[in-house]
Symmetry: C2
DNA sequence: CCAATAGTGTCTGTAAGACAATATGGG
DNA sequence: CCCATATTGTCTTACAGACACTATTGG
């Protein structure tokens, strides 16, 4: 028996059913800037479990696709939004056995449902359409969500989605420092003021417009100057650069 | 029937076996600095599949533990190294259906094995002990590994572990810029030169010792000055700060 | 004594933060 | 006409990069 025959025999006899049953889902933290505030897309669950609670859109992997592919597919299906110039990246995987009651409950006390979470950056002004198993879908300003679940304000969140949203917001805020992703939150063409308002909304700060303009216009490849709008207003498009160094310094958050 | 009774009935009937079979593993990219170079711990596989190839240590989740807990357990079991002051963090999840031949092959063509990968920072000078299902275990300098699998040099890697290692190295290099994690690669107490050599090894650069000392000693909470060694040599310990801002700028890589 | 390394000090260029000045568009 | 906003420009301060100098250790 050659080694490859050995290996083929091993694989033919290999039974994945020896493992406890696991469901693999993707969850999408779709972020946008809306009315000057960072917002996340939530859907109200129409079916069990956690019916009536608010959740990030998502769904289970199809057998032939990777989590990356499933995330793109679910973004289209669950949000009804077109995903053309948007940004999507893997956030982290949540795997606590008790994170979803369909895991340890039900017919399989040793089962679980794990979620591979993604962050999606969506441009301003898109209105979501409720997906298949969602009773309702809307943007929630992240500051209106009680992520520590202490005050009882804001939407009641399903599963461990408060943690997913908190991690996604933190990822978003830090990504704006050293990447050019802020521009994915707005449509082209845009002014420097439009771009600055993205930073102000996401970071919850006020930036000096003059210093901001100097920084982003001198960052190589961040912006392509397009043309002139009304008056001499300068309109820009996204440039080819994906990272920024030195980064754009994030000030301490403004108190209100 | 109340809503919670409804939910309980739903969960009692829920069958996770409706999903395709999935195995969930953790893979560990254990990094260290060794002989002035960044190195990763690899084990030679003793069993099928991919027998004889080099792989990152890892294993499957136990039914009652999260991936974070499994990663800590596997680091102890598979490497034989003590994990006390070390750093471990989730890297990303790899889920392509064909990434492991035990997935689509075998009795379940729609099955798969996904891997939740972690990065571990280990201090200098530790020698690994081969784990249970590993024929051999050793450190490999990451520059000696052909991560694009083009030249045929270096160890032959199993599964998609070249991608895991590449992602881990990139994560490590960027983390050193804005965190104080470089100090987890060395034992206490250490000199500024010890710490600088970590940066030089990981980034593949030469740093000005004077500018480096000024930067790290003035970064609040990075270092606790301990005492004096032989002569007036100053010895330090890790301070409480976990992040550094402004970050320590990373120069372009030195050509050799 | 010499070489290598550690620690401290100084100078310079670049960039960030604060603010002023001008121009444009809308009510 | 007044006010809000956009763009450009100036000044000051902070810090990174380069380099000089001294002290100590080990051969």
């Amino acid at each position: 028996m050659t080694r490859s025959e050995e290996e083929a025999a091993y694989l033919a006899g290999y039974d994945l059913r020896a493992f406890p049953p696991v469901g693999v889902a993707v969850d999408l933290a779709v972020l946008t800037v809306r009315a000057g505030r960072l917002a996340v897309l939530l859907v109200r669950r129409d079916g069990h479990p956690e019916r009536g609670k608010w959740a990030t859109p998502g769904g289970f992997l199809n057998p032939d696709e990777s989590a990356d592919e499933a995330a793109v597919r679910e973004t289209r299906e669950e949000t009804g939004l077109d995903i053309d110039p948007w940004h999507i990246e893997q956030l982290r995987t949540y795997s606590r056995p008790d994170r979803d009651p369909r895991g340890p409950s039900g017919k399989h006390p040793d089962g679980r449902i794990i979620s591979i979470a993604y962050v999606v950056f969506a441009p301003e002004g898109r209105e979501p359409a409720a997906g298949s198993d969602a009773a309702d879908a809307r943007w929630w300003a992240v500051d209106d969500i009680d992520l520590s679940a202490t005050s009882g304000e804001g939407p009641e969140l399903a599963f461990d989605h408060a943690a997913i949203i908190a991690d996604a917001v933190e990822r978003c805020r830090s990504k704006l420092e050293y990447t050019t992703l802020a521009a994915t939150f707005i449509d082209e063409p845009f002014t420097l003021g439009d771009l600055r308002r993205v930073y102000e909304a996401v970071w919850g700060v006020r930036l000096h417009h003059s210093n901001f303009a100097r920084k982003v216009t001198s960052s190589p490849g961040f912006l392509l100057p397009k043309d002139f709008g009304k008056g001499n207003q300068v309109l820009y498009r996204r440039g080819p650069a994906r990272s920024m160094n030195p980064p754009l310094p994030r000030p301490d958050r403004d108190e209100e």
